[in-house]
């Protein structure tokens, strides 16, 4: 009986750990890092796009060329590639 209880607890603990270590989806990764990315100087957008090879990537939009911001941005986030793109200022039309 005691052994059974221990087994159940162990399984539950393993399950919980498993969930914590599960890789986040690209949507979760984008949402998690959005505020930090948007706070960088010149960043106007953060979205999910596709690379030329079809892989989903996190796309960071800049208002103009910004070498310092570019250097400060991560190459990937939670295992997803980050692409930096100059999109210019976005205005209501």
């Amino acid at each position: 009986m005691r052994l059974l209880l221990a087994a159940v607890l162990l399984a539950a603990a393993a399950g919980a750990c498993g969930r914590e270590n599960m890789p986040a989806s690209i949507q979760e990764a984008r949402a998690k890092h959005e505020a930090r990315l948007m706070a960088q100087p010149g960043v106007v957008s953060v979205g999910i796009g596709r690379d030329a090879d079809g892989t989903e990537v996190i796309v960071v939009g800049l208002d103009r060329e910004r070498p310092e911001t570019r250097a400060a941005l991560p190459r990937d986030l939670d295992g997803y590639r980050v692409r930096v793109q100059i999109i210019g200022s976005v205005r209501a039309r």
């Binding site: 948007m38 106007v44 953060v46 979205g47 999910i48 989903e56 999109i87 976005v90 209501a92």
Partner: protein, 334 residues
């Protein structure tokens, strides 16, 4: 062969006026007779009609005879023929894709018609129909918009019915608020008095994000609006925009253009002039398919299903609200 063409042309010259006098006939010309959907080698006098009707439904005098002076005739259905008109012009009834605007703005685009409580409304952006929150409910909406010559006396088409307010990012840190500073100072003084180690400080709340830039206007008469989109046609329901989807729009400035959804889940800061910036979340991003004045355009996928409402852009992008957010924020349907 040339003889047949000359005969048909001279016969048509004699009778075209008489043919065009028949109620259903909108155009006449000389062309090869169609039979079973295929072109034959027989030259004929072609009468275009709004709708093809059975002979029994027409008065004998309104029927196009099978032959005229020995020349065979053909009847083809072409619908009502309209002059090709620039979207900046005055349209009655007005379809989607044409110029529209609140009396205090320049001009934007009439998106499409939507339904609410059994009534029909015009859908466009808040910054087109409600002057970026500055308008009053009931304000007049002009078609075409003021920049395109629309005036209250002759072009008043609708009244502002409702809009989703746009929340702008605070231009200054709210910690400048003297009231907040006074309250905090009092609280901290109190803490000191009772010997508590706790101290309060001002935290500025993050401005609320926006999902849509949208508004509706009530047409003065249902006969003044048309449930289709200029250059695109009728809308076939709605769909969810997805990455890679091919889309199109019809707008006041650039007319019908096409593009592709290049990004989804987009958070973007949008400038509204006068230094105002608003943050939008869960937007669709397409390539360069719009210019100033195209705001409010309905965005559709290949099968004419509605996926979004165009409202902003840069030199290389176009930003689109998801139609599901627009509909739920305004409580409207198609």
């Amino acid at each position: 062969m040339n003889g047949d063409l000359d005969t048909a042309r001279s016969t048509l010259r004699q009778v075209s006026r008489e043919l065009l006098a028949r109620p259903n006939v909108t155009a006449t010309g000389v062309g090869y007779k169609m039979s079973g959907g295929r072109r034959t080698k027989t030259l004929s006098i072609v009468c275009s009609v709004v709708r093809k009707l059975p002979a029994s439904a027409l008065a004998a005098g309104d029927l196009v005879p099978a032959t005229i002076q020995g020349v065979p005739t053909d009847v083809v259905e072409t619908g009502r023929i309209r002059a090709l008109q620039a979207p900046t012009g005055r349209f009655r009834p007005a379809p989607g894709g044409v110029s529209i605007g609140h009396r205090d703005i320049t001009a934007g685009t009439l998106g499409c018609l939507v339904r609410k409580g059994g009534q029909t409304f015009i859908l466009s952006n808040n910054h087109v129909l409600a002057d970026s929150n500055a308008a009053q409910i009931g304000d007049p909406i002009l078609q075409p918009g003021p920049f395109d010559g629309g005036s209250l006396a002759t072009d008043h088409i609708a009244n502002l019915e409702a809009f989703v307010p746009i929340t702008f990012l605070a231009p200054e840190p709210p910690s400048e608020c003297p009231f907040a500073r006074a309250v905090i100072a009092a609280l901290n003084a109190g803490c000191q008095v009772i010997g508590s180690q706790t101290r309060y400080r001002i935290v500025s709340l993050q401005a609320q994000d926006n999902l849509v830039d949208a508004a509706i206007a009530r047409p003065l008469s249902a006969a003044d609006v048309r449930d289709e989109i200029l250059g695109i046609g009728s809308i076939q329901g709605t769909a969810q925009g997805t990455l890679g989807m091919a889309v199109k729009k019809s707008g006041r400035t650039t007319g019908v253009t096409t593009g592709e959804i290049l990004q989804v889940d987009v958070t973007v800061d949008v400038q509204y002039g006068a230094g105002q910036v608003a943050r939008f979340t869960d937007q669709l991003l397409a390539g360069a398919m719009s210019q100033g004045g195209d705001s409010g355009s309905a965005v559709l996928e290949g099968g004419n299903r509605l996926v979004g409402l165009l409202f902003a852009g840069s030199d290389v992008t176009t930003i689109i609200n998801r139609i599901e957010h627009v509909f739920s924020a305004l409580g409207v349907t198609r």
